[in-house]
């Protein structure tokens, strides 16, 4: 679990171009200025590519925080 979380954090740092980013399960777009709609899609696309999974549109728009993404991702890998 910790490994997965670490990988998500790395992806986020890469997509949001912020190497200092530290995330928790509760981290949401409200806390991160770079987490706009475009970067959200880029972030989701990066997760899909890295873990070879696919999110539905409904899932993509339902994620309220990092925890939601990780929980959903675990059901697919």
């Amino acid at each position: 679990m910790e490994g997965l979380f670490q990988q998500i954090q790395e992806l986020m740092r890469e997509v949001f171009e912020n190497k200092q980013l530290i995330i928790t399960n509760e981290t949401s777009a409200k806390e991160i200025a770079e987490w706009n709609s475009l970067n959200h899609v880029l972030f989701i696309a990066a997760i899909e590519k890295k873990f070879n999974v696919s999110f539905t549109l409904d899932e993509m728009i339902s994620f309220a925080n990092v925890g939601d993404i990780v929980t959903c991702l675990k059901t697919k890998i």
Binding site: S37, H40, A45, L57, M60, I61
Partner: protein, 357 residues
């Protein structure tokens, strides 16, 4: 937020539904629906539209996909036709709609005529983007159409502006075509034209043949005599639908009985575009002469082109045009298309859905 896909095979029924008739915004016109339903490159289960609806079932955004064909790959291929978001309610739908299009098309799509903002988004999504320059030349004054569009209050002065146009055109615009008419307007490609076109195949991005031209010429996306329903729909549709006049014509250009060029031209009101053209480099001057003949005969006010050879030739015709305006168009395509040779292909002005309007 709910997403709803409309397939190509469902389009004609969709524009007859109660939902469509009562919608606050419509994502497609009946004209476009019929045209896209007759797309020779589409399959009935292809997704044509993705709609984003809020919890009141109001359309807050939509994105359009047009199946196409490219000479680059045998894989299914698509164009992006539209992307609209309600400026107040639809911002949350923008990127999910865009992403849904990428997933549906497996990113096998080309964007043609992007805005600079959309081009930056497309670039961030991993596509190559490029800009193409074009030229719009003015052959006649047309202030009575141009000025009221920019300044609504001038609409009441249209008759006066029309009078000014008439005076200015009498004084400055070139009036007569050369007597030798070196073009023919024809209905479809004949055998000699197909032979002529074969040498342009290596640089064609998309195939140009009778199948394609028949679709384009029979199913434009504009209507010139709207009925009451269409007039009502036009008020709820963000993109172009109704115009005073619109024709698509295929021109066979010859010189001393030799075929030297094939042009598809569209004339919307008095503005002409050249969606497709094929000619040898050494015939550029002659084909342009024929195009100008056509334009004078039709009393065309402007000609727009992005074709590099025609643009260069137009620079030499400065004394026959009143004004020139430079244009820019942004295109986007998947990076892998570069390995397939897209940089060796000529983007014609009519690629994607551009020829339909």
């Amino acid at each position: 937020m709910i997403f709803r896909e409309i397939k190509v095979g469902e389009l004609v029924d969709f524009v007859n539904t109660v939902f469509y008739k009562n919608a606050n915004i419509v994502p497609i016109t009946p004209q476009r629906a019929i045209s896209q339903a007759n797309n020779p490159y589409a399959q009935p289960n292809d997704v044509a539209l993705v709609l984003a609806l809020n919890n009141k079932e109001e359309i807050i955004g939509f994105i359009g996909i047009l199946p196409g064909k490219t000479m680059l790959t045998d894989e299914r291929f698509f164009w992006n036709t539209c992307w609209w978001i309600d400026p107040e309610k639809g911002k949350i739908a923008a990127m999910p709609l865009f992403y849904s299009m990428l997933k549906i098309t497996k990113s096998n799509l080309i964007f043609f005529d992007l805005t600079p903002h959309t081009a930056s988004i497309v670039a961030k999504m991993g596509f190559m983007t490029n800009s193409i320059t074009g030229t719009k030349v003015f052959l006649r004054f047309n202030l009575n159409q141009i000025l009221p569009k920019k300044y609504a209050f001038l609409a009441i002065l249209k008759p006066i502006l029309k009078f000014f146009d008439s005076c200015l055109n009498t004084m400055f615009a070139k009036k007569s075509a050369k007597k030798e008419l070196n073009y023919q307007v024809i209905k479809c490609l004949d055998a000699s034209m197909e032979v002529f076109l074969s040498k342009f195949k290596p640089t064609m991005l998309t195939p140009f043949d009778n199948t394609f031209f028949t679709w384009v010429s029979n199913y434009s996306w504009l209507t010139t005599q709207p009925n009451e329903f269409e007039t009502a729909i036009a008020k709820k549709y963000y993109f172009s639908y109704i115009t005073q006049s619109f024709v698509v014509e295929l021109l066979k250009i010859t010189h001393q009985n030799e075929l030297i060029g094939i042009f598809v031209v569209t004339c919307r009101d008095s503005e002409m575009k050249i969606p497709y053209c094929f000619f040898d480099d050494n015939a550029t001057e002659k084909v342009l002469e024929a195009i100008f003949n056509y334009a004078y005969n039709k009393k065309i006010t402007t000609i727009t082109t992005f074709h590099p050879k025609i643009k260069e030739q137009l620079k030499l015709k400065k004394n026959t045009v009143l004004f020139t305006k430079q244009l820019v168009k942004h295109v986007g395509y998947p990076k892998q298309f570069e390995t397939l040779g897209i940089t060796n292909k000529l983007f014609q002005d009519g690629e994607g859905d551009a020829v339909f309007t």
